[in-house]
Structures are given as structure tokens and as C-alpha cells.
């Protein structure tokens, strides 16, 4: 489904990623873990084109890219969430989700100005799909509240909803459970598993909480100081000495 081959990324002198390669299979939950500053988010940003790596290629399906741009990524069915929430503050939850669907809407400008006829049908059709996501994420009661007013945990869920609204093939989740209490974490895990199970979306997940990673991911990549030090199922990663050192902080 997706394969990253010897990607290297540097900001001026700072080497964020050096020679990273790993693949993600269809319908898999692939976790990327590593201590803070290991380059996890940068990796995600390379996949969906926010940063452009100096070396290496990204293969999605059959096409290979040196440089990916966010728009093309979105059109190819890659959606993502951000580490610190990137919701549209000026809009309500419903509008945020509907914006997620804009790739699927193609009514002309004039049709939208008249609103009746084709545009109305399209709005209603997409509204129904968004309502399914709202029902799926159980955020019915905050459907019409402006996003800025919602608590942190709910905002994270809305952002996941917006990414789902684009019906992606590949979903990149950047620390979806950061700053959540146990109950919210359990809910979010259940949502991620349901998304993978019900919609069949492949998921690349960045997460700190070892418990969560070991429970729900099929395979894990471990990064440290921008280098890949581990790859495989949660079990073989758990007793991989390099990974333990990285986390327990053995002197480099």
C-alpha cells in the first residue's frame, strides 16, 4: 500500500531523518514510536507532502514520488490529523467535517450561488455521510457548537472525524491520544480499531503510550535520533535491545 525508501530530511544543518525505509501493508495499523524528537512527526509530514525530503522516494500504490505535495496526497486518499489540533476555529463541528468532504463536491460556482437544485442535492447527500461519521464518533450533542468551545478530547475526535470525512485509503494519525485521560484513550482506541475494521482504512499511528501501541498496532517502526532502530510486530520490537536502550536512555 505504501512504502518509504531511504528517506532523508534535513532543515539546514539539522538532520531530522536519515535513510529511513519501511512499508505499510493494506488494512494494517502501523505504529511509529520513538522518544521525543526522534523524527516521528517529520516522517509523517514527508509522507503527506508538508515537508519535502532531500533524498529517497515514497511509493503509494503503483506511483512513486520524490516530492509529494499535500494537495496531491489528499486527492490520492491520504488524510491526516495534526499533533496540536488544526481545526478551523471559525466554523462549527458540522462545517469542519463538511469541509473534509470538499474533494468529493464538485458543484460549479453558479450552482452554489443559486443553491437550489444540484447544489442542494449535493449538500444533503454529503451531509448524510457526515452524519454517519458524527454518529460513529458519538459527537451528536456538539454537532452545531463552534469548535473553539469544545474540550480538548472532543476536539481531537472532531479532527479524526474530518480526516474520515474524506473517506481516505490511508489515515495518518499524529499522536491522537496526547493529553487524554484513561477513559478518553480507551474511546479513541476503540474508534481507531472500528475505523480500521469497519471502513478498512490503513492507519499509520504515532503514539507515545506503549500500552496503546502494543495493544492495537499490527506492526511497529521505532525511530531514534532520525534513524530506524527497530521494525516488526509489537512483540519482537518489545524485546529488541536497541529499542529498550533508546527508551531507557543508554548513553550514545
Amino acid at each position: 500500500m505504501l512504502s518509504v525508501d531511504n528517506i532523508s530530511l534535513a532543515f539546514g544543518g539539522v538532520k531530522a531523518l536519515t535513510d529511513i525505509s519501511f512499508d505499510v501493508r493494506e488494512h494494517e495499523i502501523r505504529a511509529i514510536i520513538g522518544p521525543n524528537g526522534a523524527g516521528k512527526s517529520s516522517m509523517l509530514n514527508c509522507i503527506n507532502g508538508v515537508y519535502s525530503p532531500q533524498r529517497g522516494t515514497i511509493r503509494i500504490g503503483t506511483e512513486t514520488f520524490r516530492q509529494m505535495d499535500p494537495n496531491k496526497a489528499a486527492r490520492m486518499g491520504i488524510a491526516r490529523t495534526f499533533q496540536n489540533i488544526a481545526l478551523f476555529k471559525g466554523m462549527s463541528v458540522l462545517d469542519n467535517l463538511m469541509t473534509g468532504r470538499n474533494l468529493k463536491m464538485n458543484c460549479g460556482l453558479l450552482a452554489q450561488a443559486l443553491y437550489l437544485g444540484p447544489n442542494r442535492r449535493e449538500e444533503i447527500e454529503h451531509r448524510e455521510k457526515v452524519e454517519h461519521i458524527i454518529d460513529f464518533l458519538q459527537i451528536e450533542s456538539v454537532r452545531k457548537t463552534p469548535v473553539a468551545r469544545l474540550p480538548y478530547g472532543i476536539q481531537k475526535r472532531v479532527e479524526l472525524g474530518r480526516a474520515l470525512a474524506a473517506e481516505p485509503r490511508l489515515l495518518l494519525l499524529d499522536e491522537p491520544m496526547a493529553g487524554m485521560n484513561i477513559e478518553e484513550k480507551q474511546d479513541m482506541c476503540r474508534f481507531i480499531l472500528d475505523v480500521n475494521d469497519e471502513f478498512g482504512t490503513t492507519i499509520v499511528l504515532i503514539e507515545h503510550d506503549m500500552g496503546v501501541v502494543m495493544d492495537i498496532s499490527d506492526r511497529v517502526v521505532v525511530l531514534d535520533y532520525g534513524k530506524k532502530i527497530g521494525d516488526g510486530t509489537p512483540d519482537d520490537v518489545r524485546n529488541n535491545q536497541a529499542v529498550i536502550d533508546a527508551y531507557l536512555g543508554v548513553a550514545h
Binding site: R127, E128, E131, H132, I134, D135, F136, E140, S141, R143, D194, D197, E198
Partner: protein
Amino acid sequence: MTPAGIPPAAADTFPRLLLHHAQVRGGRTAIREKDLGIWLSWSWQQVADEVRATACGLAALGFKRGMTLAIIGDNRPRLYWSMMAAQALGGIPVPLYQDAVAGEMKFVLENAGIVFAVVEDQEQADKLLEVRSHCPLLQHIVFDNGRGMRNYTAAGVLAFDQLMARGREFDAAHPGFFAAEVAAGKVGDTSVMLYTSGTTGSPKGVCHTHGSLIAAASGDIAFDGFTADDEILSYLPMAWVGDHVFSYTQALVAGFCVNCPESSETVMTDLREIGPTYYFAPPRVFENLLTQVMIRMEDAAPFKRRVFHHFMAVAKRCGGAIMDGRAGSVAFGDRVQYALGNLLVYGPLLNVLGMSRIRVAYTGGAAIGPDLFEFYRSLGINLKQLYGQTETAAYVCKHPNGQVKLDTVGKPLPGVQIRIAANGEVQVLTPSMMKEYYQRPDATAESISPDGWFLTGDAGYFDADGHIKIIDRAKDVGRLTDGTLFAPAYIENKLKFFPQIKEAVAFGHDRDTCTAFINIDLDSVGNWAERRGIAYAGYTDLAQKEAVYEVIRDCVEQVNRDLAADPKLGNSQVRRFLILHKELDADDGELTRTRKVRRGFIAERYAQLVDALYSIASHCEIEAQVKFEDGRTGTIRADVRICDVAARTGVPMGRAA
């Protein structure tokens, strides 16, 4: 539009009533459900078709006449249709409480010999699968919302849509089958089995027949004049007689429209969207609502607060009278003020609560405090009290329009006779009496007297205007050592009226004075404490605060003043009370599922505290087992203060705050 009136005699079972409505008003909306953001609606004809398909589906799976069908879940159209489908096949629907744990369901599944079960979603299905090993009879589990159940492979688990698909095949294969089954239904067949939560012993299955329920429903409709244009919101547990009578039997007899809310969290917003014309709720709902209103008004701007309190005072003075049509007795100035209040305060208040279109509102199932009752009537809601049990399909007494007395439960309904036994117990003869307790002839014999009267187990008496005044459960009514009547529930309800008090337990039987446990309402008292800058860590800490005891003592004194003025109960005033260190909770077995106090259990469990109340101690060390939300148990240690209250002499009836 055909007049509401009672349907023709031929339609004397619920399935036949359904077909009658489908024929007479096929196009009208019968039921609505809020889902995915909008209200989906089904007409009577559509409901009839769905019920037909469901019934044939059940038949295809081997559902026979006389079998029982368990129904578990929130108020969903498909669950109501399953009831009708079961009745169409001559079966008996058995609704269960959706928030009961698997263990509690096991008893009912065995007792009612459940083979078929229709559940709402994965949560309920998992409960059934959990106890399946203990209930060999349970074969088929049909689920409506299949979320998360895609790869459930357990035998007999079936989606509702598959059931209906098989039903349609079966219907095509046996054209006359459905009509024949409906025709085979008889008035005397058992139409539903409702398990009473029962404060003592294990639950009993109350069997009602089509006849008894339709008699009750027809009486209700004639009494209050409901028509097919009425709208109700059905949000109460389906296993409770209140919901069954309100959103099933009466709906099927009168033909009005039932609306199912989206989820339990959105009930208040859905109530406002629907704006029902007929509303029913247990006193606890009205109590919570009153507390919420008061808390929100406390936070309003000073001007708004002043306007609000001014007009509430006006409403208290003359609202009740205007409501009862005795406007003549109200001074002209007050009537103008009330009209102004209607525009400025009561109208908008009821509108925000979603109650502005209510023509008739009932409360019942437990005693309601007179002042709470008066609050809503003065706002302009035609709130009335009804009295009845599961066994009598809640069809015993109701307040007639215009004759509402605050501390009575109304007059006997048409066709109902009431007599007071020697021990003060109310006995009832009503067409809406149950057939029997399922497979419990002993219990049936106990509660139905040889000459066919139902023994309610409540103590009460007729007052001057022919209204029944219920004071307490017969068996709980005791006597103080000096002989005065001691009715714990009556005292507790007076205490519970104050927003600060959530629950109360009174003691006094075979004692010389009366004492009480008090549970404070964390929201209301917490808000009150924050406003005065009193810091508190949690419920236990707040409960033991000196200032809180002061507030509660005022409430108890006011209750004593009321009691002093009542001739029969004058002496049973609360002399000493303590504030419990934990909230009484159904999970700890201290309350029933419908939040009624289980006095015996509590007296036994906190015997140490009860003794302290009757000693001269001002403190008492207590340690109690508590079950937390996620199942773990822990203990709470607390040093509970005990407070004395001065007794009141026969002061005239003072108004409670």
C-alpha cells in the same frame, strides 16, 4: 379527521388496534425517531407493514403462540414493533431495564423462559451472550444497531434487517398466516409481562391482558380527552409500567404520535424540539429539573434574577388558582401581573424547557412534594398526580382537571372502586387489574384478596373532598412508642422537596422520637458552596461542613413546622439527623432501579449510625463498603456529625421556602 373516540369493539387486542389505525389513519405519522441529525417518521401503514414482516420473521425462526420475547434497549421504534409483532403471534413481550447488569437479567430470562430476545445494540447483546451459559433456553438474539458486531459468530445472533427479510419471504410463502394469527388473538391473552423491581424479595412478573390494559388506556383517554393529534416523547425505561401505559397502550388506543429521542444525553434538547402536548415523568425528573432551573437562575444577571423572582412570587400567589379556573378569586392586579409574567418569564421558561405545548402532564410512581407540585402548576403546566401500581396498570386515581389538591393523589377513576382496610391499607377493585404474577400463584394469592380486590400495600385515607391521601407504604407505616402514626415516606418527601436534599431515610418505628439520614444534592449544595467560597474536596468533605449542616437544619425545622400542623402526624417530627458520608446508590443495593429507598437494607447496613442517632452522641465513626464505577470496591471512612433539631409546637401551616 375521525374524532379521537375509542376504536370499535372489534379492535380489542393491540395487533387489531394497530391494523385499525393503519386502515383509518394510514397516512398519519405514528412514530418518529431522531437519528443522524433529523427526525425520521413512519406512518401507521408503514408501521403495520414493518410489524407484519417482523412477526413473520419471528414465526420463520419458530416463534410459537404463548412464547415470551425479551426486549432490551432504549426507546427505539423497532423495539416497540417487536412488542406488537410478538403480540400478533399470540406471544408475550417482556421488556427489561436496559441499565440492569447481566446478573439481574439472568433471573428474568430464566423466570420467563425466554427463547427469543430483541436487543438494541452491542452493549445489550454482550450482556445476553455473557449469561447465555446459564440460560439454555435462549436461542435467538436479534440486534437492531449492528455497530461493532460485524464478526460476531455466536449461534442465533441475527440482524433485525435479516429477520425482516426472512419475514417477507415467509409472508409471501404463507399469505394468510399473519391475518389468521392476529384474528386468533383473544382479549384475555397475556399481552405483556412487566417485572416489578419490588422493594422486597426477587422481582415478580406481572401479567397483563389485552383487556385489562385496553380498559385502563380507554379510561385514561376518556378522562383527559387525548386525540390522534397529541405528541409525546418516550424516554422512560420500556420495562417500567409508566412507559408501557404512556407510550404503548395509550398510543395504540388513541393513535397519537410517539417520538423516540436520539440518545439518553440528548433527551432535553429533543424534548424542546418536539414540544410534546402530553408529558409523563416520575417526581425525580421534576425534582432534578427544578434544581437545574434554580442553579441556572442563580448564575443569571442580577436584573434577570430580580425579574424572575418577582414573577415567581406572583405565580406562587395566584398561578395555581388561575390554573384551576378559579381566576375569579384572584385580585385583578395579580391577574395583570400574571399575564405580564406569562409573556416575560413563564412563557419563555416553559419554551426553553420544551414544555410550552403541554396540555396535560402527569407525575406518579412515587409521592411528590406539595411545593414541587405547586411550582410547576403555578408556571402554567397542567401537572396532575396519578396513583397506581404495575399490577393495576397505573389506573387507580387521578386528579380531575380543575380539582387538583396538592397533597392528595386525586379521585378514583371511572370503573375503579377503593376501600380502606382495617390496618389503613388501600384496596382497589379495577378492570385494569393484572391477571396474575407469572408462575407465582402464591404471590398472586397474597396480593389479590379472595373477593377479587387488589391489596396495594399503601396506607392512606379519604379526605373531605373524596380525594385519596397516600401517606406511605403500608408495611413501612409504623407507630411511635406513644402511638402517633409514623409515615417515613411522607416525611422523606417533605425533606426531598428542598433542592439541597437529594435523598432522605426516616426512622421512628417503635421508637419514641423520629430521626433521619440525609443525602445532600452535590450539584445544588456544591454550587451554593462555591458561591460562598467554601472549598470542598468531594461529596464526603462537603457533607461534613458546618455551614452545610446549618442549611440542612433550617430545612428540617421547616419540615417540622409543616408536620406540627398536621393533626394525624403532629408528633413524628425529626428530632435528630445526620448527613450521610456517601451518596445512596442503586449499585450498592441501597436504592431500587427506580431510585426508591430500600429502608430495611439501609437500616441494617448503617445500624451503627441509627443507634448513634438514638444515643446522645454528637459524632459517629463509620466505615462503609463502596462499589466504584469500574467494578472495584473500596471503603470510605468518615466521622459523621449528628445534629439536634428543636421540636415545633402546633404552629399554623407555614409555607416551605
